[in-house]
Amino acid sequence: MSVLMVLLNVLSLFFLNVRVDEQWSYLVPSLLTLVGLWGVFRKCGLNPWHVLIPYVRDVRLGEAAGMEKEGRILGFLSVLLSFTNVLGLFITNPDGSESAFVTIATIFIFLLQFVYQARVILALIEVFNRKKAWIILWMLAEWIAAMIWGWFKEYQPLWKASEMKSSAANFFSGTKAEVMDQGLTVNLEERTAREFFKTKYLLRDIHMYIQPGHMVLLLGGSGAGKTTYLNAVNGYEKAKAEVVLNGHNMYKEYKDMMYDIGFVPQQDLMRGSDSVYRTLMDAATLRLPSEFTRAEREARVEEVMEIFGLTPVKDNLVVKLSGGQRKRLSIAMEFLSNPSLFILDEPDSGLDGVMARELFLQLRQIADQGKIIIVITHTPDRVIDLFDDVIVLAKDSNRTGRLAWFGPIDEAKAFFGKDSMEEIVKSVNREEEGGEGRADEFIMKYAEIAAANAGNGKNSVPAGSAAI
């Protein structure tokens, strides 16, 4: 092979994944794909010139589809595939072990690339509001699909990637909640995560103070960062934040404080092979201080079983319990150590209305003992009378979880102009999720109120109902 041909092959493999000498018939479809994607990029508000740059092309396609991470991985795989293809040009012995290695690597990368490309295209299909069957054309004859979507007027995206930078996304309250000796103060600047070489903001600018004895509802659409927020509050997944519970910094004293927090996960995470009594006894051994004698631990377990109505099933295996019993056992495990802060992630999932109400009544009683209870639930309106405050998290246009409201229930209804919690959630959800897409509006409005309060010398951020 002449030096010129090798050079041509390297260039075409890098830019188009095609060998000029052996696969010239693929050149035209590859070029047409680029032309089609040029149109798609324009429609999605992206720089069309980026189509010409390998890796960047895939990253931008991911952005257009709302799959940034997958786009970056796809780009990385494309570069790897080009690299192995170019490497193949310089292997002279097709029967050698080097050739075998490169072939295996190429097949492996190709399969991965296929999977990630399918994911990105499926998301792009949703953005263009088309049928999923389009994936077949995209995967088998990408150039035809790209040309149609890029250059036919009927094919328009529901939203543009360029719309993601709005003023709300960059507007912050610039205030902090006051740290108190009792209760829970949260001053969360940001919670980030690294995703394939890029920092992603999961939560930003969340400040609040929750009084002891308050039962707080945590609302937000899917992906708004509710669980991330709870994990940041209980110190399990640390954020750039200051979280103070009853005068103790949760992050600095986490090892001691973790016994003072009860976190009840959404799933019933218990071993089915243990009995109810054994589960609680083992939990008590883990959670209670070591100075507790066996008799004291047993007494505490008996007491908690009585509170949660588990005494009649104390010898049953967990796997044999009903949904409600399991949920109560899961809460009882955390209640053993009598924590000051109780966090429950959808405790009513899988329960009927009556059972759910009974459960929330029990939680109310626990709150009345001076505990702080934060609950995520997707059916809040049937038990809303039991709550003191509500936290509303919403995704801003950068898809970062932000605080759209914290305060009493009635004021929340007035703030959002809605009659129920479900309507509030709907108002901050994105349009493509069936919501009203007003998250940015409420985020800015709430941040302005918080900033104004700080300017007036009031409690820097709106506090829970008792404070107001």
């Binding site: 072990s97 000796d181 009792q182 995560a193 009084q211 002891p212 004895g213 308050h214 039962m215 669980t227 991330t228 209980n234 399990y236 997944e237 009853n246 005068g247 103790h248 004293e253 001691d256 973790m258 016994y259 003072d260 976190f263 996960p265 799933q267 995470l269 218990m270 071993r271 089915g272 092979s273 243990d274 054994r278 083992d282 939990a283 051994t285 883990l286 959670r287 209670l288 201080p289 070591s290 100075e291 295996l317 495990m333 955390e334 000051s340 109310r364 709150a367 009345d368 003992q369 001076g370 505990k371 702080i372 003191d388």
Partner: protein
């Protein structure tokens, strides 16, 4: 809302001590045994016996009998031990990963949790190994018996048992490590075949490996397992019978065929003949040699030369230029016999001894030497695998809080 009891929720006494690692090991050991009873983990024991039985039926006439049988037996038993070990623990951590996360945030020590697993898996592997050895003995696998039959311990069955246990436990710890890095049971079970294939293919025991890949076998448990078991079976001291059995089985096979003179003459130009053209086929013949053959008493002329030495090349030239041969190029010569006849001519017992001795010499491997040092070295390597994988498993599970949701 009701009155708030702020006194109770006010600052609690900090720096209280909670259950330490040792006590937690007992909690989780208890959970393991309840799992064994209530969640059908006990099934691994009868399964181990069944697998041992199947393998015993295949190796019982060969193991400890000849080289090939011992190597196959060592490989098969290593496979059994690896299989048992791997499937004991491959799902044990990943199936309850979410529960571990919950308990970790409630004060569980990962080292205590893993310690409980290690103790439990130790007992499980020991029970499986005991069952396997029992089945091998019951199915008459010819393991040497009696006091003094062993190399390290006084009993060979104990030696084999220790090797099997170490292979099994090392595989168990390897799987525990895989289980601790897998998020789901599906993920772990997807990874498992790759690991098993790597262990079996790169063991270096049965499948010949290309030069570049041989160092890889140093990183497999199976390599040291096969070495330990083959050494204990006395591999190097046993005869190799497969080649002789093949020859013996061909006694009635006919060898040779019909040739034309032309074909034979063509062979005279072959590179093989060319290579030996200077080799002497008939040395110098003296008068004395002729007198000896003819039975005539030697005299003063005995030292005189009758002919000069004749080389292969000279014979070839002679044949190629032979007028008679060239005139009869189309003539057919028949050269046929049976393997049995050849063996009769050469002496069957001589050939058998020769073949078995030479093939055994060729198959001799230093790494299968039946010495105490060699076996101990392999046991030590298996111990290193156990320690490394156990440490890695604990280390990786310590990172459980970093799991992305």
């Amino acid at each position: 809302m009701s009155e708030v009891n702020t006194a109770e929720t006010a600052k609690k006494v900090r720096k209280v001590h909670h259950t330490g690692r040792t006590s937690q090991v007992w909690i989780y050991l208890g959970k393991q045994f309840r799992f064994f009873i209530n969640e059908n983990d006990w099934k691994v024991l009868p399964m181990a016996a069944v697998i041992a039985g199947l393998v015993a039926m295949v190796i019982r006439k060969k193991f400890f009998v000849n080289m090939e049988g011992s190597l196959i037996g060592a490989f098969a038993l290593t496979c059994v031990a690896i299989w048992n070990g791997c499937f004991n623990s491959i799902q044990s951590v990943c199936r309850e990963r979410a529960i571990i996360k919950r308990e970790h945030r409630s004060g569980m020590h990962i080292s205590a949790y893993m310690g409980a697993h290690m103790i439990y898996q130790f007992l499980l592997c020991a029970a499986q190994t005991a069952l396997t050895m029992f089945v091998l003995r019951q199915l008459s696998v010819p393991i040497p018996r009696g006091y003094g039959s062993g190399i390290i311990t006084p009993w060979m069955i104990c030696d084999l048992g220790i090797s099997m246990f170490l292979i099994s436990y090392a595989s168990d710890m390897m799987s525990l490590f895989l289980s601790s890095i897998s998020r789901t049971t599906t993920g772990a079970m997807t990874l498992m075949p790759f690991i098993l294939i790597f262990q079996l293919v790169f063991s270096g025991g049965i499948i010949p490996l290309p030069e570049w890949s041989r160092p890889l076998s140093n990183f497999t448990i199976s390599n040291y397992g096969i070495r330990a078991l083959a050494s204990q079976s006395g591999y190097n001291e046993l005869p190799m019978t497969s080649v002789w059995n093949s020859v013996s089985g061909m006694k009635n096979s006919t060898i040779g065929r019909d040739f034309t003179v032309a074909e034979l003459m063509e062979k005279l130009d072959s590179p093989a003949i060319e290579k030996f053209k200077d080799r002497v086929v008939l040395g110098t013949i003296t008068v004395g040699d002729a007198q000896e053959v003819l039975g005539v008493e030697k005299d003063e002329h005995s030292e005189e030369t009758l002919t000069n030495p004749i080389t292969v090349g000279q014979v070839v030239e002679l044949l190629k230029n032979s007028k008679y041969l060239n005139e009869h190029k189309d003539k057919t010569i028949s050269l046929k016999t049976t393997v049995g006849d050849v063996l009769d001519i050469l002496g069957e017992e001589n050939v058998k001894n020769f073949v078995q001795q030479k093939t055994a010499e060729a198959a001799h491997k230093d790494e299968y030497e039946s010495s105490m040092q060699n076996i101990a070295r392999n046991w030590l390597m298996l111990g290193v695998f156990i320690a490394v994988f156990a440490a890695l498993a604990t280390l990786m599970l310590e990172l459980i809080d970093k799991d992305k949701r």
